[in-house]
Symmetry: C2
Subunit: 420 residues, 2 copies
């Protein structure tokens, strides 16, 4: 990896170019932004061979990584096509910029509008999945933001090849190439400089594992939008339809175990603990390890006792901790103590109980009779997502085009002066 | 001042009580919150003598402060009544909590709602004006947030007396007293602990001078909403109605010179520089010092030459810097180089020029043919404000009840599982 001599200067220079590009992007028409994305998608398809060759270089250096990470890193013709299709999908989304969110007239005749505008310059710090380069660039571009991308060192060559396609798309649409920039190397000092670049970078979005997000949150002097982990719960209430509960819980845990919306802890109303044997058996049959409170152990010889740390562990694997609780109040208390504010669900046929859960669980997403794996921008109808935010400010849950905007107040008068 | 031995422990304890209170406040009815505020207003009126006595104690210690600060600190029967009336006004505002901001149904039948909720625990760090205690407490309470107040050391006794009235109001409405807490002393170490209290404090709002806000922004590990300064501009375009320009500029500078929405720099289109003599003369006649670019000096012998630092100075006084610029593009460039992102205005009869200015000036508030002194939550129709935000995320411009909320997604299903 190239080591950069003066990371703050490098980032300041990139940031300056990004700011100038952001000013032009903020005024770009929807048509120009869509065209740039369609051209970028075409360029991605045309560059398939070059992208796969760059990816082969990354893969050759990735021998030490586990199979899951190698799979995340690997590109195929189908994955390049999926990446291009995703960029085209973003090109077809409604443009959030310029939307008048609210408008009112004051008694003195002033007309006040709250108008949606881009945030400005967005840094994205991510890990091995090369498609993040295309997704993040497309979402930033369509929402009028300049992007500064910092891919993981293991996917740097793939990211460079994908980035080249975007630069081509921008040029074809008459938009500045500096609207989407890549840090010149994967040197970690450059990430530090990016996180310190107050004034130059308006927002940093970390996408990756817990250690990456923790580092970004710890070091950042610029605002950060992201989530540390998804310790999602599903609670089966005594008034649940147990057949539905079985299907929903199975999907919430097993559809994909490695995503942040996967359920990590199942909570069971103590009143029906003796009836959930089949639900647990189905998970065990599918190879899921279950770590349970002592009262559940007699239900199946394959159950293991949970340790205290299990309630605070995001497995991202075929492991589920299971606790009995005293009704919906017990579930709410368990989630308040151990949840990560990401996504939590209740299974019940009792509407009053459901509404109590939905009102009192303080997570970005709360669900009733649905799988926590629906925690996703695409599933919400946003077309894509740049991540899922679990902080309390600006944007929560799946963040897509709208979450990448802010607003300003536009006040139109006829010479009003303020009395008093 | 009391020095606190273990500031982090003190803040953690206050924060824990605030969190518990915030959970109860989040579920409180509009009626309960309104009643608490009306009771607090009544308690403020009933405690007028005690509040004035506490204030007299603060004033006795404030001999070294300048007259402007002493005036900000001073309470009178009329000011206590105004404080009570403001609390009652907030009690009558629409409750933002629970508002369904958006609602849609997915093809699979999931019904998704974005619902407004309180942020949680809000810290307010402020200086000498005792009414901030009442305003901030009222806005936080009505928006369902627990407040931890840290008044300036010079107003601490006044703040304690006002706080007691709030505690009485909360009790009368059956809400937890810990919903509005005061730090136990003005010890600066407690502010540091508050700013470090990640997880316990969800948001800090600094209200005060530049040095206070800079300290909060520098030290905070928790999110901050505020503004460093209001370096507001008014631009007189060649197509301006000069009589309107004279009235608007005079008001924008001279109505109150010490507020953040006061215009600090006047920009004049070079094409009409020879015609603004009367506008400048009116300001000079009113005792305003004018620091101008060399080309304007011949207009009036009382004009002084501007130094380079004048373009970056927030005077908060009867001083105005005046620069000629090359049309609206020159004005936009000057504001981009020297503005603080607060409020900037154009005076013109040309709608196309106005719209270019409104679109391209990247401030929280942009105005056409109106005084920058309208930058105020009350003037916007928000009833009150906790401050004016110039950052780019979460809330910008005047921040009131809505800016003190966030949202969550509530998803209601009928057993949906995610395919694929």
């Amino acid at each position: 990896m190239n080591v950069v001599a003066a990371p703050d200067i490098v980032v300041a220079e990139l940031g300056g170019k990004a700011r100038a590009a952001a000013r032009r992007l903020a005024e770009a028409t929807t048509e120009a932004k869509s065209r740039a994305l369609r051209e970028a998608a075409a360029a991605l398809r045309a560059a398939e061979a070059a992208i796969l060759q760059a990816n082969a270089g990354d893969l050759a250096d990735a021998q030490d990584m586990g199979p899951a990470r190698v799979d995340r890193l690997r590109l195929t013709p189908a994955r390049v096509e999926a990446m291009a299709a995703a960029v085209e999908a973003v090109a077809g989304l409604p443009d959030p910029v310029g939307e008048v969110i609210a408008r009112w007239t004051r008694p003195n005749g002033l007309v006040i509008e709250r108008v949606r505008i881009p945030i400005g310059v967005v840094g994205i710090v991510y890990e091995s999945r090369p498609n993040v380069t295309a997704d993040a660039a497309a979402l930033c571009l369509m929402s009028g933001n300049a992007a500064i991308l910092r891919p993981g060192s293991e996917s740097f060559r793939s990211a460079q090849a994908i980035h080249r396609a975007f630069v081509g798309g921008l040029a074809a649409a008459g938009l500045p190439a500096e609207a989407v920039q890549l840090l010149p190397s994967a040197d970690r000092a450059l990430v530090g400089a990016l996180l310190r670049a107050e004034g130059a970078i308006d927002l940093v979005v970390p996408r990756g594992g817990r250690s990456l997000v923790e580092r970004v949150q710890r070091e950042a002097r610029v605002p950060v939008l992201g989530h540390l982990e998804g310790l999602c719960h599903t609670y089966i209430d005594q008034a649940a339809d147990l057949a539905m509960a079985s299907d929903v819980v199975f999907n919430a845990k097993m559809r994909r175990t490695g995503i942040c919306g996967a359920t990590e802890t199942l909570l069971v109303d103590r009143a029906i603990a003796h009836r959930v044997g089949p639900i647990l058996g189905r998970l065990l049959d599918a190879g899921c390890e279950l770590r349970v409170t002592p009262d559940l152990l007699p239900l199946d010889p394959r159950l293991k006792p949970a340790r205290p740390e299990d309630w605070d562990t995001e497995y991202l694997d075929a492991i589920l901790s299971v606790a009995t609780v005293d009704g919906v109040e017990g579930a709410i208390a368990h989630i308040a103590a151990h949840g990560s504010g990401h996504t939590d669900a209740i299974i019940t046929e009792d509407a009053a109980t459901a509404e109590r859960f939905l009102a009192r669980v303080d997570s970005a997403i709360v669900m009733w009779n649905a799988s926590t794996q629906f925690a996703d921008g695409g599933e919400f109808g946003f077309g894509a997502e740049i991540g899922i935010a679990t902080g309390r400010l600006h944007a929560r849950g799946p963040v897509a085009l709208e979450g990448l905007t802010t607003y300003k107040y536009v006040v139109r008068g006829s010479g009003q002066v303020r009395p008093g």
